[in-house]
């Protein structure tokens, strides 16, 4: 029997096994095992823990996968969804490195070093523990613990949690890696965004790269590398943990040419229509309940119906590229899945798929490129000035789809990445693999958080979270293991009394049960607490703060608890501090207002028409 066959057999044997469930059912199973142990003796290898693959889409929106209502073709991701479970009430953080830090440490951002994004650390946060701007050494990482539990640990893709030698993936538990250390950059080469930091920094297996492999394209190369890592260690029988932190579909939308023109004209209908279509599919799929309303079209966005066809086509082409990015990502996920099937590992692999935060609606390039006369503008003029639509996707082009399409990606929610409205922090999650005992293709609405992944996977791997690591006391894990929920024993690992809370860029939110209290700077918020009932208003259309001061007070007290428990220091400076003066005044989105814009040409009755009298 060759290696592949052996692994296949082992995978089949171990499929029913689940360390977490075994532990919980030890009372009964233990007695049974004691009776039959002499009979089975050494007839089989001890169950091997499953492989674990986390596929993280960078800025992938809640509604961007077909399984979550998108028109974008994602057959491979959808296949994972139909063989596993989709989760509709899963929370990340509002921006990338904070989410990633929680994912890999299980600890709140204000403790793990990403209390703010490194790029936006405020003056009053500088030098404060928990705000280092990288994943600090006060936490232990998921790959470190899995490695100690006997796993191979692989990472490909974006890291964004530190660049110094002690902060890179190899130093934080990854045995093999091919990583972009920056938060973004070209998909084609090492070009980054500013004159001060013109080159993206990559590592491979702990060494900083002087150049990229030939024919580099981020999504493809990451996949190739991961497959090579997996294949290199296939023979030793150890399970692997793969953190596939794809750069896609983060802007700029760099895309091979043959992926750019698969949706020409499909988005000319405009963002409102596409949002409505996605919501209808979400209701049909059971992702959202019937009667769900769309969030308001943000007040500064035009009604696409009032735009000239060329404007809609011009803006729609951005979404065409984004759709291509997602489809290309799906294609390479499919390559990985197919490879695991070919080598007999698929059946024993747990997949987790989600986006790291809300879709990106902010014009990052404008923030990065500066204004004429500045250093960064000059850099952009040389490196990032391929602005013609036919160049979109090429090296040197910087295309993002803007807030209108970000709202589409976050259908039906409000706002997008960087904000603590549901559109900034709620994402679609797929979990599949042998650990899932819920009906294949089912949808679950239990409240979940990215911090849950660490305890879940540790339990899955038969590992545990230590009190100390390398002599240092560790902070408590923030999340809850999903094992009972994945096993179908409960619908949610949280009760209506459990609390989730967020803070980044000075915006803050706390959720308990269906109630959410939110404070956001104007004009995206009111610079005061807003209250929403997410059970009836997931799109956060109606602020109930004035009607329910009791609930505001209750949740505000929970917020204060969160601040005290997690070292929260509100920033003295934020990227949004001048926004209110730069943006149009916020007004409600009342469909049909003003009637003027919808008035059609009046046609008098034909029998009352007449020529002018002489």
């Amino acid at each position: 029997m060759n290696d592949t066959q052996q692994r296949s057999v082992r995978a089949r044997v171990t499929r029913p096994g689940n360390p977490g469930r075994l532990l919980r059912t030890m009372g009964i199973a233990g007695m049974v095992a004691a009776l039959v142990a002499p009979a089975i003796g050494f007839a089989a290898d001890p169950p091997r823990p499953p492989n674990i693959v986390i596929i993280l889409g960078d800025d992938l929106g809640f509604a961007d996968m077909g399984a979550f209502g998108s028109e974008i073709a994602t057959p491979n991701l959808d296949s994972l969804a139909t063989s596993g479970v989709r989760f509709t009430n899963f929370y990340t953080h509002a921006s990338c490195s904070p989410t990633r830090s929680i994912l890999l440490s299980g600890v709140d951002t204000h403790l793990n070093g990403l209390g703010n994004m490194d790029e936006w650390t405020a003056p009053n946060q500088l030098g404060v523990v928990g705000y280092e701007g990288y994943l600090n050494d006060r936490v232990v990482t998921l790959p470190q613990l899995l490695k100690e539990a006997g796993y191979h640990t692989y990472m490909v893709g974006k890291w964004h949690m530190g660049k110094a030698p002690g902060q890179i993936p190899a130093a934080r538990g990854f045995e093999r890696d091919f990583s972009l250390l920056d938060g973004a950059g070209s998909y084609w080469d090492m070009t980054n965004f500013t004159g001060a930091a013109p080159r993206s920094v990559f590592t491979e297996d702990g060494r900083y790269l002087t150049e990229l492999p030939k024919d580099y394209y981020a999504t493809q190369t990451y996949t190739d590398k991961l497959i090579s890592f997996i294949d290199a260690n296939r023979g030793d029988g150890k399970p692997f943990f793969a953190y596939v932190a794809h750069q896609a579909p983060h802007d700029p939308y760099h895309l091979p040419r043959d992926w750019r023109s698969r949706h020409v004209g499909e988005y000319d209908k405009g963002w409102d229509a596409v949002r409505q279509e996605r919501l209808a599919r979400q209701v049909e799929l059971g992702i959202m309940p019937a009667g769900t309303e769309l969030s308001e079209r943000m007040w500064f966005l035009p009604d696409p119906v009032l735009l000239a066809p060329a404007s809609r086509a011009f803006l729609g082409k951005r979404m065409e590229l984004y759709a291509g990015m997602v489809e290309n990502l799906d294609f390479h996920v499919g390559r990985l899945v197919d490879h695991l099937k070919e080598i007999g590992e698929y059946e024993n692999t747990v997949f987790l798929v989600f986006g790291d935060n809300g879709a990106e609606g902010t014009d990052l390039f404008k923030m990065i490129a500066g204004s004429p006369g500045t250093r960064d503008f000059l850099f952009a003029a040389v490196k990032w000035s391929q602005t013609h639509p036919n160049a979109w996707g090429d090296p040197g082009s910087y295309v993002a789809y803007g807030p209108m399409w970000a709202q589409v990606s976050m259908t039906p929610f409000s706002q997008y990445k960087g904000w603590l409205a549901e559109g900034g922090i709620r994402n679609g999650l797929i979990v599949s693999g042998p650990v899932v005992k819920r009906p294949a293709g089912s949808v679950n609405h239990g409240l979940m958080h990215v911090a849950d992944i660490m305890p879940t996977l540790l339990e899955l791997a038969g590992a545990s979270y230590p009190k100390t690591y390398q002599g240092r006391e560790l902070p408590a894990l923030l999340g809850r293991s999903w094992s009972p929920m994945l096993a179908g024993e409960v619908e949610s690992v949280r009760t209506s009394q459990d609390v989730l809370a967020w803070e980044v860029f000075g915006n803050r939110a706390v959720r308990r049960g269906d109630w959410k209290l939110r404070w956001q700077v104007r004009p995206f918020g009111k610079s005061e607490w807003e209250l929403f009932d997410l059970a009836t208003d997931p799109a956060e259309r109606k602020d109930l703060a004035a009607e329910r001061p009791d609930k505001v007070a209750e949740l505000a007290a929970l917020w204060d608890d969160y601040v005290r428990a997690n070292n929260v220091i509100l920033p003295s400076r934020t990227p949004f501090e001048t926004m209110e003066k730069q943006m149009p005044q916020r007004v409600p989105d009342d469909p049909g207002f003003p009637p003027l814009t919808g008035k059609k040409q009046f046609v008098p009755p034909a029998d009352m028409m007449a020529d002018p009298k002489p």
């Binding site: 943000m298 060329a310 086509a313 609606g361 902010t362 014009d363 404008k366 013609h388 943006m583």
Partner: protein, 333 residues
């Protein structure tokens, strides 16, 4: 942040459209050297209008006003041509089409050897106006609106053209040199534009071919004789490349064969000539395009060979109602 980006992107299509619509090719004098310039058959928005002003300075042993290139061995002719014209893009059965009229004018002079005599001759005035109809057969559909402009890429485009010159130009049968040709003539051709690589301003590359056949009527009063010319086959070839978003260049070639002329039944030699040249183009602004070029025959050492070279400079002004109006609104903000 987001709001300004939104308005910026909304306005973007207009600038793009401006740049795209008015790149209508310089309307080179098709009579002069029987060749159209590179990028002449690129398509643009239906309803676009263009007026060319073209000046040529040419020398050789043939009358550049005569597309048949009747060679006058030993002649040394100099011509200054100006051509005014008008072209309009339109849609015909969902295909891109163009109708154009070109009116040559100018002067020509030189020594002409005829009937064993060398005489000085000159002519001035208007030549024969030529009408051209062009319809695209293979390639993108007509650009009927700005959305089509946004999405236009020629890929592999093939047109059919029909030219007809009307013999109303100045003609004196007693003169060996004339601007008008005193006969009907025209051309059928199949212009090809083949996009090589991306269609991005600044990086566009095309291979363009124009196989065509010229047909000539009889001039019954060619210095009192009858001039007949066999059909002439012509292939123009251009390899064009953008240097920047606004500047481009082209390597040009042309091959002529056939076109045997008979004067009162006495046949001359069949043409079999090659010419090569260079063209530079520059888009001055959204409405004005400048083209400069030089071309010369190369296999022209024998006395009966076609010898011709010339400099050309053209300025083409293009406009479209939507673009002009939108620009007025934008500039008025």
């Amino acid at each position: 942040m987001s709001d300004t980006s939104s308005s910026r992107t909304r306005a973007g299509w207009l600038a793009l459209a401006l740049a795209s619509v008015l790149v209508i090719g310089a309307l080179w004098p098709s009579q002069a050297s029987a060749q159209v310039p590179p990028r002449f058959y690129w398509k643009t928005l239906s309803g676009t209008n263009a007026i060319p002003v073209i000046v040529n300075s040419m020398s050789g042993n043939t009358n550049p006003f005569d597309p048949a290139h009747l060679v006058a061995p030993g002649a040394n002719l100099d011509a200054t041509l100006a051509i005014g014209g008008y072209a309009r893009m339109f849609t015909l059965l969902d295909r891109a089409a163009m109708a154009a009229v070109l009116l040559p004018m100018g002067r020509i002079s030189g020594e002409v050897s005829a009937a064993d005599q060398t005489i000085n001759s000159s002519a001035r005035g208007f030549g024969d106006p030529m009408f051209e109809l062009n319809v695209n057969l293979i390639g993108p559909k007509a650009q009927k609106n700005l959305v089509d402009v946004l999405r236009y890429e020629p890929g592999f485009s093939l047109d059919v053209i029909a030219d007809l010159a009307v013999p109303v130009g100045e003609y004196d049968s007693g003169q060996p040199l004339n601007l008008g040709q005193n006969r009907w003539y025209g051309r059928l051709g199949a212009p090809i534009v083949w996009q090589l690589g991306p269609w991005v301003p600044g990086r566009r590359t095309t291979l363009e071919l124009l196989p065509a056949v010229w047909f000539f009527g009889t001039n019954d009063d060619f210095e009192g004789k009858s001039l007949e010319t066999d059909p002439m086959f012509q292939v123009d070839a251009h390899l064009t490349r953008d240097f920047t978003e606004h500047m481009w260049g082209s390597l040009d070639g042309a091959w002529y064969t056939g076109g045997t002329a008979s004067v009162d039944g006495v046949e001359g030699e069949k043409l079999d000539n090659l010419a090569f040249g260079l063209t530079l183009g520059y888009q001055i602004n959204d409405n004005l395009g400048l083209t400069m070029g030089y071309k010369s025959t190369v296999n022209d050492s024998a006395p009966g060979d076609l010898q011709m070279d010339g400099f050309m400079i053209s300025l083409v002004s293009g406009w479209h109602q939507i673009i002009e109006g939108a620009r007025r609104l934008e500039s008025g903000e």
